[in-house]
Subunit: 135 residues, 2 copies
């Protein structure tokens, strides 16, 4: 049991999946990869995350897809400006300590920035531990 608890702490984590519809933020934020990259990296830093990589792609004529790699795992974002829609993921692992609080701050920060009027949110716990067999 002790080893199982250790594994949960080492390999566990938390994943937020958000579909943000009817976003009323500045249009540049949804259209322009450089603008979105700057905002996402800043939001990660402001939430106490350690950024270890970043990659954003500009779609033509508009739209962004990008990820920020974190010591705590990742943020991924995809925008459809023509629909005012953003697909957002934040995943934090709990390698040496719980990062759930940082993840919650990051999700809140991005939600506030995007000004979505409708949000569908899923939360998925992550774990390295094998499911117990059905008996």
């Amino acid at each position: 049991m002790a080893s199982e608890l250790t594994a949960v702490a080492a390999g566990g984590g938390h994943h937020w999946i958000l579909d943000l519809a009817d976003c009323r933020c500045e249009r540049d934020m949804l259209c322009d990869a450089a603008s979105m990259q700057t905002l996402c990296v800043q939001a990660c830093a402001d939430s106490g995350m350690r950024v270890v990589g970043q990659c954003f792609h500009q779609f033509q004529p508009e739209g962004v897809t990008g990820t920020v790699l974190l010591a705590e795992s990742h943020l991924a974002i995809h925008t459809w400006p023509e629909l005012n829609y953003v697909a957002l993921d934040v995943y934090v692992c709990d390698y040496s300590s719980s990062n759930v609080g940082k993840g919650q701050r990051l999700v809140r920060c991005l939600r506030d920035m995007l000004k979505a009027r409708a949000v569908r949110e899923h939360q998925v716990p992550r774990s390295s531990v094998r499911e117990p067999s059905a008996s």
Copy 2:
């Protein structure tokens, strides 16, 4: 109704979240960022995806975090070699046509490569459409 259906087609998608425990693949695959990057990018191409960006980070002394940006959305992967554990995400949007088949091929390809003995899988439908209000 017609406009809602159009929005579903344009802003919909599918997200696979896999926790792969007890992975029995080559150890280099879990430890080395360059090895993992090559395998992931190849798997995306083999599955019919269009790669538009990639970013992988090498943790010390071992372990990888990385993402491949796709025209169809993204793949994200994180490894804990000391636990033989991998956290994997594949998200495909359905912008101009359904990409679910490509996503299924990519997930299967990576599962086969990682040789996990225990897999916990969540599938989350994504959508740009506002939820109908509760009545």
